[in-house]
């Protein structure tokens, strides 16, 4: 471990494309640094996306059109990541509260006049259709990190309460859409910030105990389909053709894949449509069926590499805001991966969370990549200290 000195930063101190001290663009690593790209992180992400495209091609019934759709989405998301990477962390910090407030306003707008799609009100049409809840995935950790930036951590109880409100308001607004998966992720991203900021274990334990009656209250607020998902998890065989069907079929898909899988595009569970939502939330089962244990372990390893690199960037970061934000983004990604794989393998209830960077769909892809753009920005805008 190196010794850490006091670091203060200004906008003018940060490197930029046009700064006179910018690294030369003669070498590959030089180009990457000048573009504020973190090579290992980009490499990990591209590998995940590439493996994902293979699986997706099979899952969408070998449709080139749908595959190209996804390729375009990945491209757009990577551009978004590169753009965000150019924004200095200070800039991202100063604008965090405004972005957060704007996000809240949009969430209220969604509930009052949003478009209904698939039984939920998630979309807002402002020239382009988009989901404000997606923006809040970054908005909440940025806001909480901003709040803690100037304060001594660990935060005391009063500050924790204020942060809890910051997390709870968007979480409840999104849960009301209803979008259980996203609201859970958003709550997690905020909670991760507090935990990383050093919330005492005693308090966490206390909250965990308090969570029991809280869960009971939550149960009463849950929609019927959400309750059903929890009940089905406990005993999927109780309703084999109804709510338990997804889990049973995805377990059959994964289990029948065995060690090395049935081979690419040869998964009968996926191809014969036994597996529902095989190109979205349940795509992990397609991977398991066609590529076996070897395939799923490869993907999980790639994911863990991305998370690890993110945490490394967080540890390397020079200020509280960057640290907490980078940590939260990395670990939220980790929660993403865990919740999806755990639900597809039947460990946790089915909440609608896609497998990040692999599932078909574009909205969450852009948010995820923008998050990695923030990581890259944080890492590449550090003022490198001579040792």
């Amino acid at each position: 471990m190196r010794t850490w000195g006091t670091v203060t930063m200004r906008l003018s101190d940060t490197q930029s494309l046009f700064a006179p001290n910018a690294p030369p663009m003669t070498s590959f690593s030089g180009i990457l640094r000048r573009l504020h790209i973190d090579g290992p992180l980009l490499g990990g992400l591209l590998l995940v996306c590439a493996l994902g495209l293979f699986v997706l091609y099979s899952a969408v019934g070998e449709s080139n059109r749908l595959l190209m759709n996804q390729v375009v989405r990945i491209g757009v998301a990577i551009v978004a990541m590169l753009v965000v990477a150019q924004l200095p962390p200070d800039f991202l910090r100063r604008w965090a509260p405004w972005g957060y407030v704007a996000g809240l306003v949009l969430l209220v707008l969604v509930l009052t006049q949003g478009d209904v799609g698939q039984g939920a009100q998630r979309w807002l049409d402002l020239g382009i259709r988009f989901q404000p809840s997606e923006a809040m995935k970054l908005g909440v950790p940025m806001m909480t990190a901003w709040y803690l930036h100037d304060r001594q951590i660990p935060p005391h109880l009063g500050q924790l309460f204020i942060i809890a409100v910051m997390i709870a308001v968007p979480t409840l607004l999104i849960a009301k859409q209803p979008d259980l998966g996203t609201s859970l992720l958003i709550a997690a991203s905020g909670v991760i910030v507090i935990v990383l900021a050093g919330m005492s274990f005693r308090l966490m334990l206390g909250l965990a105990v308090a969570a029991v009656p809280g869960a009971l209250v939550l149960w009463n607020f849950m929609q019927d389909y959400q309750k059903q998902r929890v009940l089905t998890l406990l005993n999927p065989d109780s309703d084999p053709l109804g709510a338990g069907y997804n889990i049973i079929q995805s377990k059959i898909a994964i289990g029948s894949g065995g060690m090395f899988g049935k081979g690419w595009t040869n998964g009968s569970q996926a191809k014969l449509e036994f597996l529902p939502e095989r190109d979205t939330d349940f795509i992990f089962a397609v991977l398991g069926e066609e590529f076996g244990l070897l395939g799923v372990l490869t993907l999980l390893t790639l994911y863990m590499f991305v998370v690890g690199r993110g945490l490394y960037i967080a540890v390397q970061a020079h200020d509280t805001y960057s640290r907490l934000l980078a940590g939260s983004i990395s670990l939220t990604f980790m929660v993403y991966v865990f919740v999806n794989t755990a639900m597809v393998t039947g460990i946790v209830p089915v909440v609608g969370i896609p497998l990040p960077l692999v599932s078909f769909g574009g909205t969450s892809m852009v948010t995820l990549m923008a998050g990695f753009g923030i990581l890259m920005s944080i890492h590449s805008h550090r003022k490198l200290l001579p040792h």
Partner: protein
């Protein structure tokens, strides 16, 4: 806000705290992912076999393949029943959002009837959601074209090619061959479910019904790769098909060759057009039925294709009862057609002699009774012997000998000719008719007064009236027994059954029944000679019909007072009157010495056996013996 303005922070402790928390997060992350990995190992390694099996069971489905129904041919090898590809309209419940609405819109463009909507709704609810419900079995080309344009408006409704039973000659063979109809719940109880898996229709009546087990064949099955909705996956996913077990090919149904001659059917049908009646022609030398017609008939294709409710109602509520097979089920008073048999009985029992004469004044009276039993000819026939009594159909002669003959002898001889019992023909639903006797009356009446047999009843029985009933088939068989001078064969319609794969034929052997024994051979010739004179003698009742024919024939007319077989129907007065007219009957055979064909027929309310029925019998015999206008 700038970092420069931020309060003094303990940067070192913050770093340490953060690092510790990141380490904690990594540990928790590894634990969580470890649990997922453990789960994956459990599913993919430990329980792999179990899930591999489940996955296989998921996708392989056994589907029955219905056999192809055997064909039916006439005696000259012409097709009577075949299977034609036809497009049928099907609805797949799971693909239809609003079944009610879809059915209503189909009815609005006249593809189905509004009345049937409820039936189809029930059907679509009863089976698996992926199983198609047939809305219409055969679409016309116009309907196909019409629907093809509108198909986008009806998701889940489509037309599919199927083999449909087809009777090219329609109503010509309706009552002989019968028809197939959609399997009913009762059929499913009765039939072997393994053999009928995948079959939609079964023989209901006629040969189609009684030879069902030959015609149907046995179902095979094939293994399918089925998708999650249970439907077969299109063939291009062939790599999945490799591991499938071997299929079982269905055994096709046997072809059935009938003794029926379509030409005779056509002539008889045409002759009976616009009338109610029936005709049976058979070969007296072996019992082969050459023609079996009941009029009016119906189009058996309607049953094979499936009828709308209103179409069926029209058939079943028609006062002419086209669905009723008069040839084998219709029991009519045989009238004078039984006189030749009674003449033989009287000669054989010495109740009369060939020389005995009776003076016919036009009526007959029993001793001590005022009641006059009238002859059909009010002024009488004058002096008649047995020959004249048959040729001129003198009732009084038979009234006169009835007392000596007695009802029990009558019953005995009529029974020997097969009247009063089912012939055992190879199509179902036969009626046994009725030949009364003292015994019968005692057993079938409650009231003691009615249990007694009265003399008067014997008198009218001697001209085939009263309780006596016979079917056209029985009369044809009896005519056959007269023609052969007592040799009897069981009437049958199926001549051979052929295995379509090997071409091997099972020929139906003629089944000889107990002969009618008459003590003196000459009695046969006398009675048959009299029957010959009916048609070709100078004073025969049907001499106008037999006059100038190039071959010798025998016949006997009959006229029967109406005992209406139609029930509970309302007629207007004109119709009522028409339906109270006498039935016209005729039996005949030819050629006289070596008979090859025997015919019996009835024309309901036809009034005159010799005038209306005899020409039809003659036309059939002409055609069969090669003298007809349109003889082949």
């Amino acid at each position: 806000m700038s970092a420069l303005l931020s309060p003094i922070k303990d940067v070192h402790s913050e770093r340490r705290l953060f690092l510790a928390r990141v380490v904690l997060a990594i540990v928790i992350s590894l634990l969580l992912m470890g649990s997922v990995v453990a789960r994956l190992v459990q599913l993919q390694v430990v329980d792999h076999e179990l899930f591999a099996e489940k996955s296989q069971g998921n996708r392989v489905r056994i589907e029955p393949v219905p056999p192809i129904r055997g064909l039916v041919f006439d005696r000259k090898g012409r097709v009577i029943a075949e299977n034609l590809p036809a497009y049928q309209l099907e609805l797949i419940p799971e693909q239809v959002e609003d079944i009610d609405d879809t059915l209503n819109r189909l009815a609005a463009i006249n593809l189905i009837e509004f009345e049937d909507i409820q039936r189809f709704k029930d059907l679509s609810r009863s089976g698996p959601r992926f199983k198609p419900v047939t809305l219409k079995f055969r679409l016309t080309e116009e309907e196909i074209a019409n629907f093809a344009i509108q198909r986008p408006r009806f998701p889940g409704v489509d037309f599919q090619p199927r083999l449909v039973r087809h009777y090219p000659d329609g109503d010509l063979v309706a009552h002989a061959v019968g028809y197939v109809g959609a399997l009913s719940a009762d059929d499913l109880q009765r039939l072997d479910p393994a053999s009928y898996a995948g079959t939609s229709h079964t023989g209901k009546t006629g040969v189609e019904g009684s030879f069902e087990s030959d015609l149907h064949g046995d179902a095979g099955y094939r293994h399918l790769i089925a998708n999650a909705r249970g439907r077969q996956v299109p063939g291009d996913s062939s790599e999945l098909l490799d591991s499938l077990p071997v299929d079982q090919v269905p055994a096709p149904g046997s072809n059935v060759y009938l003794s029926i001659d379509l030409d005779l059917q056509r002539i008889a049908t045409k002759a009976l057009e616009g009338r109610r009646g029936a005709l049976v022609a058979l070969d007296p030398r072996n019992g082969e039925i050459l023609a079996l017609v009941s009029a009016p008939a119906f189009d058996p294709n309607l049953f094979a294709v499936g009828m709308s409710t209103s179409q069926y109602r029209e058939l079943s509520e028609n006062p002419d009862r086209p669905l009723f097979n008069r040839a084998v089920r219709g029991a009519y008073p045989p009238g004078s057609t039984i006189k030749p048999i009674l003449a033989l009985a009287a000669l054989d029992t010495n109740a009369t002699s060939l020389t005995r004469k009776t003076i016919c004044h036009g009526y007959f009276q029993l001793p001590n009774d005022d009641h006059r039993y009238r002859d059909w000819k009010p002024q009488g026939h004058g002096a008649v012997d047995l020959h004249d009594a048959i040729a001129q159909s003198c009732d009084v002669y038979f009234y006169g000998i009835s007392g000596e003959l007695g009802i029990d002898n009558m019953h005995d001889y009529l029974d020997r000719f097969g009247l009063g019992t089912k012939t055992g023909v190879d199509v179902g639903g036969e009626s046994s008719g009725l030949v009364p006797s003292r015994e019968w009356k005692k057993n079938n009446f409650r009231d003691r007064d009615n249990q007694r047999w009265y003399h008067g009843e014997t008198v009218i029985a001697s001209i085939g009236q009263g309780y006596m009933l016979a079917t056209p088939l029985q009369l044809a068989a009896a005519a056959g027994a007269l023609a052969t001078r007592g040799e009897r064969y069981r009437p049958h319609m199926v001549a051979a059954v052929e295995d379509p794969l090997t071409g091997e034929r099972r020929i139906a052997q003629p089944e000889r029944l107990v002969d009618v024994e008459i003590s003196n051979e000459f009695y046969w010739e006398s009675v048959i000679g009299a029957m010959h004179d009916v048609m070709q003698g100078p004073r025969g009742t049907a001499r106008a019909v037999g006059f100038g024919a190039p071959y010798e024939m025998a016949g006997k007319s009959g006229t029967a007072q109406v005992v209406s077989i139609a029930q509970d129907e309302e007629y207007d007065d004109a119709e009522l009157e028409e339906r109270q007219r006498d039935h016209a009957l005729f039996i005949s055979f030819a050629p006289l010495d070596e008979p090859r064909i025997a015919v019996a027929l009835i024309v309901e309310n036809g009034e005159s056996g010799s005038g209306v029925a005899a020409p039809i019998a003659k036309a059939i015999m002409d055609a069969y013996l090669g003298y007809g206008d349109d003889a082949p």
